[in-house]
C-alpha cells in the first residue's frame, strides 16, 4: 500500500487525464439534445406568430375572428375564419359522438368484464387502429364509408362532413378506450370490494364506483382524443372536402382548418403573398386550440395522480 501522502494526492484532481473536461463535454452534448425540444417549441411559436403578424397587417383581426366567409384565393377575397372553425368543430363533435360512447363502453368491457386473456388480444388489436396512417383513413372514407352513406342518402356528395367525422371517430376510439381502460384498471380493488360488500351488482360497481373513481383519467383521455381530432388532417381533407361553409347538413362538403392548410400546401402560392401568410394565421389558431386542450388534459391528469397518493 502507498504511504499516506501519495494516497492523498491520488484522490485529488481528475480521475484521468482530461477526464473532467471530457465528462463536461459529454454532458453538454446531451443537454443540447434536450434543448432541441425547447427550441422546437420556441420555433413553432416564433414561426406562427411571425407569419401571422404579416397576415394581420393586411387583414383586421376582427374580420378574421368574426367573418363568416373564407375566400382567400378567389376574388373578392375574404378572410373570415369562422367557416374553417365550423368545419373543424363539426368533425370534432361528430367524431366525439362516436368515439366517446364507443370508447368508454369498450374500456368498461375490457377493464371490468373481459377475461384477461381476451383483453390481452383485444387491446393491442384496437391500438392498431391508432397506428394506421391517417391517409389510409381518408381512402377508407372515400371508398367505403361515403358509398354506404350514399346508399341511404343518395344526395350525399363525394366529399361530405359525415364521412370525415365517422373515420376520425374510428381513428380516435383506441385513444379513448386504451387511456380510459388504464384509468379504470388502476382503481384499487378495495373500492370494488367495498361496493360488493354492500350488495351491489357488477353493473352498479362498474357504473357507480369504478367509472366515477376513474373519471379524471377518463376525461383526460376524452380531451386528448378531441385534440387529436382537431389537428387531424389527411383523413378530413380527403373525406370532407375543401369547401369552407357554415352548414348544419353533414352530407355537404366542408373545410377544416387543417384541410385549408393542405390546400395551400399543394398549390403554388408565392412566399409572402397573403395566401401564404394565411397559412400561419390558421396554423396559429389551430396550435392555440390544441395547446389549450393538451394543457387542460395534463392538468386534469396531474390532479388525478395526487388523488391516489
Amino acid at each position: 500500500m502507498s504511504s499516506a501522502d501519495e494516497t492523498a494526492v491520488a484522490i485529488t484532481g481528475e480521475s484521468g487525464p482530461m477526464n473532467g473536461l471530457k465528462e463536461t463535454a459529454i454532458r453538454s452534448v446531451f443537454f443540447s439534445c434536450a434543448l432541441v425540444t425547447v427550441l422546437t417549441t420556441l420555433g413553432i411559436i416564433l414561426v406562427l406568430v411571425q407569419g401571422s403578424i404579416g397576415f394581420f397587417q393586411e387583414v383586421s383581426i376582427v374580420e378574421y375572428v368574426t367573418g363568416t366567409d373564407w375566400s382567400p384565393v378567389i376574388r373578392p377575397r375574404s378572410f373570415g375564419v369562422l367557416p374553417l372553425i365550423w368545419g373543424t368543430l363539426i368533425i370534432t363533435v361528430g367524431s366525439a359522438l362516436i368515439a366517446i360512447p364507443v370508447g368508454t363502453a369498450t374500456a368498461i368491457y375490457l377493464s371490468e368484464y373481459a377475461d384477461p386473456q381476451v383483453r390481452k388480444v383485444i387491446k393491442p388489436t384496437l391500438e392498431i387502429l391508432a397506428g394506421i396512417p391517417t391517409i389510409v383513413y381518408g381512402f377508407f372514407a372515400l371508398s367505403f364509408i361515403t358509398p354506404i352513406i350514399q346508399r341511404f342518402f343518395p344526395e350525399t356528395g363525394t366529399f361530405n362532413a359525415a364521412a370525415g367525422a365517422i373515420v376520425v371517430g374510428i381513428m380516435i376510439i383506441p385513444m379513448v378506450s386504451s387511456l380510459s381502460e388504464d384509468a379504470m384498471s388502476s382503481v384499487p380493488d378495495d373500492l370494488r370490494n367495498a361496493a360488493y360488500g354492500l350488495g351491489a351488482t357488477k353493473f352498479e360497481v362498474s357504473t357507480s364506483v369504478v367509472f366515477p373513481a376513474s373519471l379524471s383519467g377518463v376525461i383526460a383521455s376524452y380531451i386528448l382524443a378531441l385534440s387529436r381530432a382537431i389537428g387531424e388532417t389527411m383523413a378530413v381533407t380527403l373525406a370532407a372536402g375543401m369547401h369552407p361553409q357554415i352548414t348544419g347538413n353533414l352530407l355537404e362538403p366542408i373545410q377544416t382548418m387543417t384541410a385549408y392548410m393542405v390546400q395551400i400546401g399543394i398549390s403554388d402560392v408565392s412566399v409572402g403573398s397573403i395566401g401564404y401568410q394565411s397559412l400561419f394565421a390558421v396554423g396559429l389558431t389551430l396550435f392555440a386550440m390544441t395547446l389549450a386542450m393538451n394543457l387542460f388534459s395534463l392538468w386534469i391528469k396531474s390532479r388525478y395522480r395526487e388523488e391516489y397518493q
Binding site: M1, A4, T7, A8, I11, T12, G13, S15, G16
Partner: protein
C-alpha cells in the same frame, strides 16, 4: 432507556472525567453538540485510514447522521451495526461519496482518507472510489461474462495494460471463486448462484486493487452456506485490505470484525470499540440492550 440507564451512568468513560448517561448524550447531540462529543468506547485507533470528524448527513430536511466521530483502522475488519434506519449504510456510503449520486443528500463535517478530507473541492469522487471499492447488499453483476465483470474495474481505471488475465484470476482466487468458475469464465455472471454472484462482485471490487473495501450487508440476500463462505472470505481479505462492513446480524459482526461501531436509531454512533469489548462489556446501556436483544 429509563431505569436501565443507571449502571451506564456510573461507568467511567474514556473520553474524560465526566460520566454521562447515554440519554443525556443523545439529548446533547440532537441539540447539535460540540465536535468533541464522540461515542463511548475507544474511538481512536492506532493507524487510522479513515477518520470521520463531526460528520452530518442530510436527506433533504431529514438528518440521517449526527456528528459521527470515528476512525477506521488499517487492514482490519470494522463492522457497523445497528437497527434498520440507524444510518449505518448512510455512513458507509459517505466514505466513498456514493451519497453524491443522491440528489437530495448533503454532507457536513469532515471525512479524512489518509489525512485528506474527501469532501474537499479538489477531490474527484471517481478517483476516490478507485481507492475505496464497494460491495452492495444485493449481488449486482453486470449482464456480461464472468471475466468481463471482473475486468470491468480494471478497464475503467485504465489498469488493463498489463496482464489482465492474471489480474482477473488473482481477484477470483482472492474471492474464493476461481475453483468454481475456472472453466466458465466466458459465461454470463448472471448464471451463477446468488452466493457466487456476490463473490463475483467482491472479485470485481478488489481486482483494481483498492485500499479499502466497503461492504453493505453483503450476505443479507444469501443462504447460510453462502453466508459462511462470504464470512471466511472477509477474514482473508483483511490481510490485504481495510474492510468496513455494514451488517444487520450481530453474530456476523462478532464473528468477523476486529472493531465494531454501534449506530442506534436516529443516526447516532453510540459506541465504538474492539468487537470483543462491545459484545462482552459495552459501556452504554443502550448498546447492551441492543446486543442482548432487549431493544432494536
Amino acid at each position: 432507556m429509563t431505569a436501565n440507564n443507571e449502571p451506564a451512568e456510573m461507568t467511567p468513560n474514556r473520553r474524560g472525567p465526566e460520566s454521562v448517561s447515554t440519554s443525556e448524550i443523545d439529548e446533547r447531540r440532537s441539540a447539535s453538540a460540540a465536535a468533541d462529543d464522540g461515542p463511548l468506547g475507544s474511538p481512536r485507533v492506532s493507524s487510522p485510514v479513515i477518520e470521520s470528524r463531526d460528520l452530518d448527513v442530510f436527506y433533504g430536511d431529514t438528518q440521517a447522521l449526527h456528528g459521527i466521530e470515528m476512525e477506521v483502522p488499517e487492514r482490519q475488519v470494522t463492522a457497523l451495526i445497528g437497527p434498520s434506519g440507524c444510518g449505518k449504510s448512510t455512513f458507509l456510503r459517505s466514505i466513498n461519496r456514493m451519497n453524491d449520486l443522491i440528489d437530495v443528500a448533503r454532507v457536513e463535517g469532515d471525512l479524512y482518507f489518509h489525512g485528506k478530507n474527501v469532501y474537499d473541492d479538489d477531490v474527484d469522487p471517481v478517483a476516490l472510489r478507485r481507492k475505496i471499492g464497494m460491495v452492495f447488499q444485493k449481488p449486482n453483476p453486470f449482464p456480461k461474462s464472468i471475466y468481463d465483470n471482473v475486468a470491468y474495474g480494471l478497464r475503467v481505471q485504465g489498469k488493463d495494460d498489463g496482464d489482465v488475465d492474471e489480474k482477473v484470476r488473482t481477484a477470483l482466487e482472492q474471492a474464493a471463486l476461481l475453483d468454481e468458475v475456472e472453466d466458465q469464465l466466458d459465461e454470463s455472471g448472471l448464471d451463477l448462484s446468488g452466493g457466487q454472484q456476490q463473490r463475483l462482485c467482491i472479485a470485481r471490487a478488489i481486482a483494481p486493487d483498492p485500499e479499502v473495501v466497503l461492504m453493505d450487508e453483503p450476505a443479507s440476500a444469501l443462504d447460510p452456506v453462502a453466508t459462511s463462505k462470504i464470512e471466511d472470505l472477509i477474514d482473508d481479505l483483511a490481510e490485504e485490505y481495510t474492510v468496513v462492513i455494514v451488517t444487520h446480524s450481530m453474530q456476523q459482526a462478532a464473528r468477523i470484525s476486529d472493531k465494531t461501531a454501534v449506530f442506534l436509531t436516529g443516526g447516532h454512533l453510540v459506541e465504538f470499540d474492539d468487537t470483543e469489548k462491545i459484545f462482552e462489556n459495552p459501556e452504554s446501556q443502550q448498546v447492551e440492550d441492543y446486543i442482548t436483544g432487549k431493544f432494536g
